[in-house]
């Protein structure tokens, strides 16, 4: 929860004079573009355009049109697209990398297949793809008679070969195949080129290879160099087959072994970490619980504290900056819960750094929670904090005994001095709503009282 500090100043990043260098950095971070990755949803071919559009913050269609236009420049757009396809990771690959950095519980559940893929991939609009291809072809045709033009004797083989390459590459791109397979129920005729079984793959590769060969032959025949090339080609083919026969199996096995070894090492490290953590925390608590079995209240407190600790370890980001408001509030609530044995539920929206005024809010909230834990008799306390731009607002609520606000005795220093006066001294405000039998809610704000 503490890992996102951008919420604090995403409103006023356009001020003419930045307050400090740190502020500038933070506001730059607030607009940081998402990492460039091929998108699995809404894509037409390889997800390159969609990914690029998200990265640059523009419409996917304009990126696609740019690629189509560039394609006319001697096929530059196509080559650029293919290069980006090969060298850019798919967003799901990025996501898988991120799983390793996820909180332990989430990562473990993901690895065990207990969470599943949450977002279903949406296929893009096939009509748009057709339109873009036509656009590219149209431009090529239009430039026919200019210096940028491409002759038909070159273009037709190129298109044939391109189609063959697409067929084969789809086989290599696993995600692409899954996506096509999902379309099959709507279009049974696609099954031959999308099926996941072996025969279909072989047919697909053979068809792709055949189309490429036809394209190459057509090109060479068009250039009148077919015979000479075939002779040279034969020699090359023989050499390649020889090399594959000698080195192939060996390379393949080495690759598999390396992969297996790496996996094993990661797993054993994870097991060691997990065992260490369980020993440090859970085992200790279990031992304490056995010793205190006669005292139900302390057993509950111990169990609750252990639960909170484990929960934080399993499901929350470890790399939260400790100086943030939300992190400090969570920690303060945890301390009060430990001291008074009343569960405190903390919900925060947004986050920002601590300054004097916010620290005052934090301390007043702590005081309010302590009061609730001590005097209200409620069996749980809710704290809700909202950070909006510069301003912080915190609500501390219990459903306990309540009291008459107008008759707070002067000796109840907690409420008067620690909460209301503290907030007013720092330029904020505090309001207390309570009635006997209806619980209490304390509202703390960094804004001056508007009422």
């Amino acid at each position: 929860m503490a890992s996102r500090a951008y919420a604090c100043d995403h409103r006023d990043v356009t001020t003419t004079q930045p307050a400090s260098e740190q502020d500038v950095q933070r506001s730059a971070g607030a607009r940081e573009a998402p990492r460039f990755a091929r998108r699995s949803d809404g894509r037409l071919v390889g997800g390159v355009s969609t990914g690029l559009a998200v990265h640059l913050g523009v419409q996917p269609l304009s990126v696609r049109i740019t690629f189509a236009l560039l394609a006319a420049l001697g096929g530059f757009g196509v080559v650029l697209y293919l290069a980006l396809w090969v060298f850019t990771p798919l967003d799901q690959t990025v996501a898988r990398e991120q799983v390793d950095r996820a909180p332990a519980g989430v990562a473990a559940a993901t690895r065990a297949g207990m969470r599943g893929r949450i977002r279903a991939a949406r296929p893009g609009d096939l009509g748009q793809l057709a339109a873009l291809v036509l656009l590219g072809l149209g431009i090529v045709g239009l430039l026919q008679n200019t210096p940028f033009g491409v002759s038909p004797g070159f273009l037709v083989p190129l298109l044939l070969a391109g189609f063959g390459v697409a067929l084969i590459w789809r086989t290599a791109d696993e995600k692409e195949r899954e996506r096509m397979a999902e379309l099959v129920p709507n279009a049974p005729w696609l099954a031959a080129i999308t099926g996941t079984n072996r025969t279909a793959t072989v047919i697909r590769i053979a068809a792709g290879a055949a189309v490429i060969v036809v394209g190459v032959v057509a090109f060479l025949a068009g250039q009148g160099q077919l015979d000479a090339t075939l002779d040279g080609l034969l020699g090359v083919v023989v050499v390649i087959v020889g090399i594959a026969l000698i080195g192939g199996p060996w390379l393949w096995r080495m690759w598999r072994e390396l992969d297996a070894e790496r996996r094993e090492r990661i797993i054993s490290q994870e097991r060691a970490d997990m065992a260490a953590h369980l020993h440090d925390s859970v085992l200790q608590t279990l031992a304490l619980i056995q010793k205190q079995a006669h005292d139900p209240r302390s057993v509950v407190t111990l169990a609750r504290r252990q639960e909170r600790d484990l929960r934080r370890w399993l499901y929350e980001d470890q790399a939260g900056e400790p100086a943030s408001f939300a992190a400090a509030l969570n920690r303060a609530a945890a301390d009060i819960e430990d001291a008074h044995g009343v569960p405190i539920e903390v919900v925060t929206v947004g986050d920002c750094e601590l300054d004097d005024l916010r620290r005052a809010v934090l301390n007043a909230a702590g005081e309010a929670a302590v009061n609730a834990a001590k005097h209200s008799g409620a069996d749980s306390i809710d704290i809700y904090a909202e950070v909006e731009g510069e301003h912080v607002e915190v609500f501390v609520r219990d459903r306990g005994a309540g009291f008459d606000v107008d008759s707070i005795p002067d000796d109840r220093l907690g409420v008067r001095r620690s909460i209301i006066e503290r907030m007013e001294r720092h330029g904020g405000s505090a309001q207390i709503r309570s009635a006997p039998g209806e619980g209490t809610e304390v509202r703390l704000s960094t804004r001056k009282d508007e009422t």
Binding site: H10, A95, Q98, G113, R115, I118, E345, Y384
Partner: protein
């Protein structure tokens, strides 16, 4: 309380001990018509028994609760799901709701509250815990819809107020009193937020989720 027919519930969780505990807690209030311990079993049991409500664990062998939601939802749209999980990671909470669950509660919920949540989901309403409300406010932060138009990407002023009160720990009845509206209206607002959460493709929502590693 005059109930004609008890609510029919299927219990899905991979821990047998937890199922036993919940079954004991719910015995008097609902009719448990089936149990399942993994995703495939859950899909089969739910499709066979057609219960009113499925209590669904989020972390489940065989693809998780999301997988069950994805497979059952198109075939049995009348079956409603209440997610029940020990995890309160943002990506699990929001992910399960976006997959089609009508509510999310943590396993530490008391038996009484759980029964209330089941009844609410069976009636077609949504169940938002304070934490879920906080996540939604966070995800939809910035920008309010100017009016009550059918804008999926923004929360109206009123929806925001309702969510804020839920996050502050108010029950629906208390929210109704606070805002001078009926409980039914509160439920309508919460259902509207649920719909937006499930259908919105808002860029910020995606980015918020990605920040919290929901992909």
């Amino acid at each position: 309380m005059t109930e004609q027919t008890p609510i029919r519930v299927v219990l899905v969780d991979d821990h047998a001990m937890f199922r036993t505990g919940v079954r004991a807690e719910l015995r008097d209030s609902v009719q448990i018509v089936g149990e399942a311990a993994d995703a495939q079993q859950a899909i089969a049991v739910v499709l066979e028994t057609q219960p009113d409500v499925v209590l669904l664990d989020v972390h489940l062998p065989g693809g998780g609760g999301a997988e069950v939601l994805r497979q059952v939802h198109p075939k049995a749209p009348d079956v409603r799901f209440l997610a029940l999980s020990v995890s309160d990671a943002a990506e699990d909470v929001i992910g399960t709701i976006r997959a089609g669950a009508r509510g999310y509660v943590t396993k530490s919920i008391t038996g009484h509250d759980l029964v209330a949540a089941i009844k609410r989901v069976a009636d077609g309403d949504a169940v938002f815990s304070p934490r879920l409300a906080g996540f939604v406010l966070d995800a939809f932060a910035g920008g309010e819809a100017p009016s009550v138009d059918d804008d999926l990407d923004r929360l109206t002023q009123r929806e925001r107020e309702v969510l804020r009160l839920i996050a502050r720990g108010y029950a629906y009845k208390e929210i109704a009193k606070e805002l001078f509206i009926s409980v039914k209206t509160v439920e309508t607002h919460v259902s509207a937020v649920l719909r937006k959460l499930q259908l919105s493709n808002r860029y910020e929502l995606t980015r918020w989720a990605t920040d919290r590693r929901l992909v």
